[in-house]
């Protein structure tokens, strides 16, 4: 198993795995891609035949223009929510993980359990709407950002705490002896060392926030607040007979997470290694 050379056996297994992966994972997406390039009546058949007429670009244009360029607005909203929520999550989450790990105490344990419970407990949706209305954040992007922070905190703190355990305490102690204040220790010494796990947090959380359907459905109604997942949902109700555009929409909204993945692909595993998988 440690034998990394490309033996004949590995080659054969690779080919078999490729074939299986093709059928199981790639064919469904080919189906999406092919149908996204068909005309509406052609796509209504929902089969694997090649398009009678290739209308890729027309479908892109129609999809983007639908409902007054709702998709572009949705891209903007979803990106804004994701970027802001991730930034807050990384900084605040790392701060919490740092103190919990470095200062074992009943208070820390209590906070840790509380935050982990957030990973477990399903959010009480309607009461949350009630709170959001009370603080005038219902139906606002700001409110949605804070909701994503609150819901993502459990997983983020979990990863950070585990990673910080691998950073030698001597590093921050050296800085303390040099007279650094706590926030200086954190921002100047610890935070820069957290890069691998930060990448993991960014990738995992940004995909889950960008692809979140349920929470915007509840907390962010209204046309101006549409997010990418909701465009898909709206499409479904409005264009019951236009599968081509529906599939084109799926393709278009998969691009941003794909870019994130391609960009960070190699680093994700590194962050996880020290994060969630070590005792």
């Amino acid at each position: 198993m440690t034998d990394r050379s490309l033996t004949a056996r590995n080659y054969a297994m690779g080919v078999v795995a490729l074939l299986l992966a093709f059928v199981v994972f790639i064919v469904p997406f080919l189906f999406v891609a092919i149908n996204a390039m068909k005309t509406a009546p052609d796509a209504a058949q929902l089969d694997f035949s090649l398009p009678e007429r290739w209308v890729f670009w027309e479908n892109v244009v129609t999809t983007v223009q639908t409902r007054d360029y709702a998709l572009l607005l949705a891209y903007w909203n979803s990106t804004l929510i994701t970027v802001c929520a991730i930034t807050i999550l990384v900084i605040f989450g790392a701060m919490v993980g740092f103190v919990i790990q470095r200062r074992p105490s009943p208070v820390s344990r209590f906070v840790y359990v509380l935050i982990l419970s957030g990973l477990m407990i399903p959010p009480a949706v309607v009461p949350t709407i009630w709170v959001l209305q009370g603080i005038n954040l219902f139906k606002t992007l700001q409110g949605m950002i804070l909701i994503q922070v609150a819901y993502g905190l459990g997983f983020t703190v979990l990863l950070f705490r585990a990673f910080i355990a691998t950073i030698p305490r001597e590093l921050d102690e050296a800085a303390i002896i040099d007279g650094a204040k706590p926030w200086q220790v954190f921002f100047r010494v610890v935070l820069p060392l957290l890069k691998p796990v930060t990448v993991t947090v960014i990738v995992v959380q940004s995909i889950s926030i960008f692809n979140d359907f349920t929470h915007p459905l509840y907390y962010l109604p209204g046309r101006d607040n549409v997010t990418v997942q909701l465009t898909l949902y709206n499409f479904q109700s409005q264009f019951a007979s236009q599968n081509n555009l529906l599939f084109m929409n799926i393709l278009l909204i998969t691009i941003p997470p794909l870019i994130v993945f391609v960009f960070f692909n190699r680093q994700i595993v590194a962050g996880m290694t020290s994060g969630a998988v070590k005792g």
Partner: protein
Amino acid sequence: MITRMTTSTAIALVLTANGAMAQELTFLVDASADSVAVAEALTKAYSEKHPEITFDIETRPGGGEGDNIIKTRLATGEMADLFNYNSGSLLQALRPHRTLLPVDDLPNFGLINEAYASTVQGSDGKTYGVPFETAQGGGIYYHKPTYERLGLEVPLTWEQFMANNAKIAAETDAAPIAQTYRDTWTSQLLVLADFYNVLQQKPDFADLYTQNEAKFADTPEAQRGFEKLQEAYDAGYFNKDFGAATYNDGVAMVAKGEAAHYPMLTFAVGVFQQNVPDLMEDVGFFAQPGDDPDVNGLTLWMPASLYAPKTTEYPKIVKDFQNFVASTQGCDIITATIGATGPYLIDGCKLPDEVPGMVADMLPYFEGEGRTAPALEFLSPVKGPALEQLTVEVGSGIRDAVSAAELYDADVAKQAKQLGLPNW
């Protein structure tokens, strides 16, 4: 709210500076192609008469999702200046007397059909909406060429209907009845559209039902609808993919003759026009038959209505627009946009002389005395949310009619308790 006010104020200021006093009203409409088209046509015509007033049309999903959006936006004071929504029991859940503007003072109020008006009244006796489209009937679309080829006649009793189905099953490849459970709401038709027959035998059922004194399970006449659905399933009359077919599929099937019957509301006329315009004249329509050939009539659905929330900043304009919709001119615009789909509920509104055959089939019911009766949801505020799941179960052979009727009785209790109705 504050942000919207500032935006629209800002727009108003900018435009005022340009010399015109412009106002933009928001209009929330369900996302079906017909509703959007009607909303666009009506607002366009209105803006032509009043150039200073424009409309921003916003769409919402239909079904339960839509209900939710409407309720939440009303409760939080974020409702658009105008919106369309169901009449009858669904409206009652909006607490109209607390949230909506009454329309009793409209100049055209006297033109509005009284039977309709009673379905958009609040608990204070005021009327809160104007009809957004035409009245609908719930019944059965059928494929005329199949009927002609087999020498079948439009059935007047359920027995004749089932005999027709048996013949269709025996002599053709077509499915006798199309069912389309991917759109779960379509499964309710055979139960809901049976209500004319219920009322003919039990005229006080709706009142007793509201007062918790009659139940589907202990009223054999009311339970018949569930039984009819079960009989059709047991006989194997449904299309093979009934579990996965959609509403659009159902329309296409009956138009192409792949299915001989499709139980549906008459608003499907618009879908026929849009999806299968060439085959439209191959499709006819009849009311869901009961057990007595002499008592044959159509269960009636009141149209969705146009409402305005109390929170609108433009009560005068909104009312003037509602008045415009409740005029013969409004009806004509609707007809010009989506065609004639059924009778209007505004006095003086006429259908064009040429209407599609399926619409012509439906008109005699409206013209005959006592040949229509409103569906239960327009006579009682009690309606349970799980009916469509229960009818899917009966229509898929998962549950029998008796058990479904019992469960539905339990389901409606939730709604009655939520509304705080007496005696529940």
